[in-house]
């Protein structure tokens, strides 16, 4: 990975100790995304650690269970104390910490400052690389066309839009083909996708059409939840689109089969 020469005013990455917020989905479903994030951060010169963790608490938060959310948030605040930055390969989980933890402790003078302090040093992966470290180029290569879905929380809570595109434009051999309505929800919405499965399915069907219309054989995004939703729809309908987290491509770690695809026979 090449450091952008204009990043002198930025933090010197060598000094930085990063706490990786793996996110529960990446931890459980697709750890290779976490390792891709680690590679990107380490290539940029950071020291990465992954303290013991479970989840950001969003499922409880969005279900109205504030007590459980707080208990989990307190745990996250404690676990990530002392790191220079906390980085998550997810706009949704980073958004939860950044935008909602402070609100969660609105009436708690003890925890509110701690929540704000954590929020201030928490970033989504691509925005951390670009906005904080000033990275504009990665050393990876990926042959072919990809299309990119802007996940809602990252886009609207954190302003993640140009950063992944900046980094993707430096990937050798990769061409980004924008889809129509890349900024429109894919219909995931956490428990929504199960509770209101029919509506969720109708929304992801519209997304599928937009993905297909690009003709790109690969779909990328920055949030595993959305990716699983879109991949699940694409595989069910037999569409030949490989679905991956953007970090996998940026880190050049695309050996694992795409989301929802079987391991090739030779590898089993």
């Amino acid at each position: 990975m090449t450091q952008d020469s204009t990043s002198k005013s930025r933090q010197e990455p060598r000094d930085l100790r990063i706490g990786l917020f793996v996110t529960c989905l990446v931890d459980l479903m697709r750890p290779s995304i976490g390792f891709a994030a680690v590679k990107l951060l380490e290539d940029a010169g950071c020291r990465v650690e992954a303290p013991s963790q479970t989840c950001c608490g969003q499922p409880a938060f969005n279900s109205g269970d504030r007590a459980t959310t707080r208990a989990i948030a307190e745990q996250v605040i404690e676990a990530f104390r002392g790191y220079d930055y906390v980085v998550a390969p997810s706009g949704s989980c980073a958004g939860m910490i950044k935008a909602h933890y402070p609100e969660l402790f609105d009436d708690d003078p003890n925890w509110r400052p701690k929540a704000e302090e954590l929020a201030a040093r928490t970033y989504e992966l691509t925005s951390f690389l670009v906005d904080v470290l000033g990275v504009t180029k990665v050393g990876a290569a990926f042959e072919g066309e990809v299309t990119y879905h802007d996940s809602c929380s990252g886009l609207r809570e954190l302003g993640v839009k140009s950063q992944p595109r900046t980094l993707l434009s430096s990937v050798q051999g990769l061409t980004l083909v924008e889809m129509t309505d890349s900024d429109v929800c894919c219909g995931f919405g956490g428990t929504f996708a199960v509770k209101y499965g029919d509506i969720s399915a109708a929304i992801v069907e519209a997304k599928e059409k937009n993905i297909e219309a690009t003709g790109a054989p690969t779909l990328l995004a920055g949030d595993l939840g959305c990716l699983m939703n879109m991949a699940g729809k694409l595989t069910r309908d037999g569409k030949p689109v490989a679905v991956r987290h953007v970090a996998e491509v940026l880190a050049g770690m695309t050996d694992e089969p795409p989301i929802g695809a079987a391991k090739p026979q030779a590898a089993t």
Binding site: S52, T68, G189, D198, V204, A262
Partner: protein, 476 residues
């Protein structure tokens, strides 16, 4: 509650909507039309974002001083010769309107488009009491013929296609030539114009809503494109304005600020065609205009929203941008929401007005994508307020029991990292093994809603935390 609600059947409503091909075709128009037009209008006004702040601040200031501005408004209406009536709820409002109609010996009443009129169910009440209400906004007229609720707050008939409107016109306009050509939308418009022109001229009372009430001058403001609201309020002898109490703003300058974001957010116009400021009845020298001017100020649950987190919802100026940009609305349309107000604004407002026990689905049926908040001209944090409803449902044990126990089960582990690692490690290993041949599941217990139309990707098998520990050892 005044209008019957099917909000508790949201899921059934939604399922029906999703399989209604006519509706799905009509909904395509929402996605294409409104969004692009709004975007262009916003791009044409560099101050738009700052004006959203300004509009929000005006509304907030007004709400914090609502009692005072209502008193000032009332005094000004009286000074200009009009009358103000207060109604605590829908029932009182209906009774006031009916007695005003009787005072005017009204047989027919023309109506401009008004959401509060829908909310209090005035049409049914007038009809039941021998007064015929006639909707004059084209969209409202169409849905009145069909005995439907509006499916959108600014485009009431957006769920219909022209051919459906044609059928309704043929069914109702019986005295017209049955062989007439109605294949083009413009022919439908012309027919409605002709039919309604007679109705305007014959009406005894005109009822309109109000986009704003101006405390400074005692003025009611309506914003329309068709001109029907104006014909409704200047032709009959009596003009009745129905307005909920939060419609008041302090001054003409404040109205002007908010108007700059209203039409742009709603239809993408720079300004709607007709913005009309009405103050009192006709003056002695006037050659036209109503002889009687009444304002019915309706609370119907608003005063109880003040001072709560839902106070922010009272900023709403009913532009419809939230539903125009909502993926859920795009999928199921307005009727699925089951009451007067659809889309994100309805998901927040409806539980306030008819109870979260009735309308609990509405704030839950959201992905929290945040697109509504990003376009709201008065910056109402709609997802946050929907989440507040979910908080209340959880507190009051209104969420489904199976869901609560699932959440509690998950929460138990999420609060215990060591146990969580142990359990998930084993679970993912077996799930990964089960899914290894296909890389996905086409059926999973408890996730039918997902797997009915989507596969569920299989996990890779080893958790991140397990592999991290294996590879990096002692590092946390």
């Amino acid at each position: 509650m005044s209008v019957h609600s099917t909000s508790p059947q949201f899921k059934e409503n939604a399922a029906r909507a999703l399989s209604d091909t006519q509706l799905q075709r009509a909904l395509g128009n929402v996605k294409q039309g409104f969004i692009d037009k709004r975007r262009k209008a916003v791009e044409n006004l560099p101050e738009f974002e700052a004006l959203r702040d300004s509009a929000r601040d005006i509304k907030n200031h007004t709400l914090r001083h609502l009692d005072l501005y209502l008193e000032a408004y009332e005094a000004k209406v009286k000074a200009s010769g009009g009358q103000v009536h207060f109604a605590r709820d829908a029932e009182e409002a209906r009774a006031i309107v009916l007695s005003l109609c009787r005072e005017a010996n009204a047989r027919t009443v023309t109506k401009g488009k008004s959401m509060i009129a829908e909310e209090i169910g005035i049409n049914e009440h007038l009809e039941a009491n021998g007064v015929t209400p006639i909707e004059t906004d084209l969209g409202e007229y169409i849905i009145q013929l069909r005995h439907e609720l509006p499916s959108h707050i600014i485009a009431p008939a957006v769920h219909l296609n022209a051919s459906q409107v044609e059928q309704d016109f043929r069914r109702v306009h019986k005295d017209l030539d049955p062989n007439r050509d109605l294949s083009q939308p413009v022919q439908l418009l012309t027919e409605a114009r002709t039919v309604l022109r007679e109705r305007f001229l014959a009406a005894d009372v005109g009822i309109t809503g109000a986009n704003f009430l101006v405390a400074e001058t005692g003025t009611s403001v309506i914003v329309t494109n068709e001109g029907n609201g104006d014909l409704t309020q200047i032709l009959p002898k009596t003009h009745i304005v129905l307005a909920s109490i939060e419609k008041v703003v302090p001054t003409l300058e404040d109205v002007s600020q908010i108007l700059r974001v209203l039409a742009r957010s709603a239809t993408g116009q720079e300004m709607s065609v007709y913005t009309t400021f009405s103050t009192g009845p006709r003056r002695s020298s006037d050659a036209d205009g109503p002889e009687n001017y009444h304002v019915v100020l309706i609370d119907n649950g608003r005063s109880a929203m003040l001072g709560t987190s839902f106070e922010e919802m009272l900023r709403c100026i009913r532009c419809g941008a939230c539903m125009n940009h909502c993926p859920i609305y795009h999928a199921v349309g307005g009727h699925a929401y089951g009451w007067v107000y659809p889309g994100p604004m309805g998901a927040v407002l409806t539980p306030s007005l008819i109870g979260v026990d009735q309308a609990g689905h509405l704030p839950n049926a959201s992905t929290f994508c945040g697109r509504c908040e990003s376009v709201c001209p008065v910056r109402i944090p709609l997802p946050k307020l929907m989440r507040h409803w979910r908080d209340r449902e959880f507190e009051h044990h209104l969420s489904p029991a199976t869901f609560r126990s699932g959440l509690a089960f998950w929460g138990f582990f999420a609060k215990r990292p060591a146990l969580y690692r142990l359990v998930t490690r084993a679970a993912m290993a077996s799930l990964g093994w089960a899914g290894r041949s296909k890389g996905r599941f086409n059926w999973l217990p408890l996730a039918k809603g997902w797997t009915k139309s989507r596969d569920f990707p299989a996990p890779q098998g080893e958790t991140f935390q397990a592999r991290w520990k294996r590879e990096r050892g002692n590092n946390a």
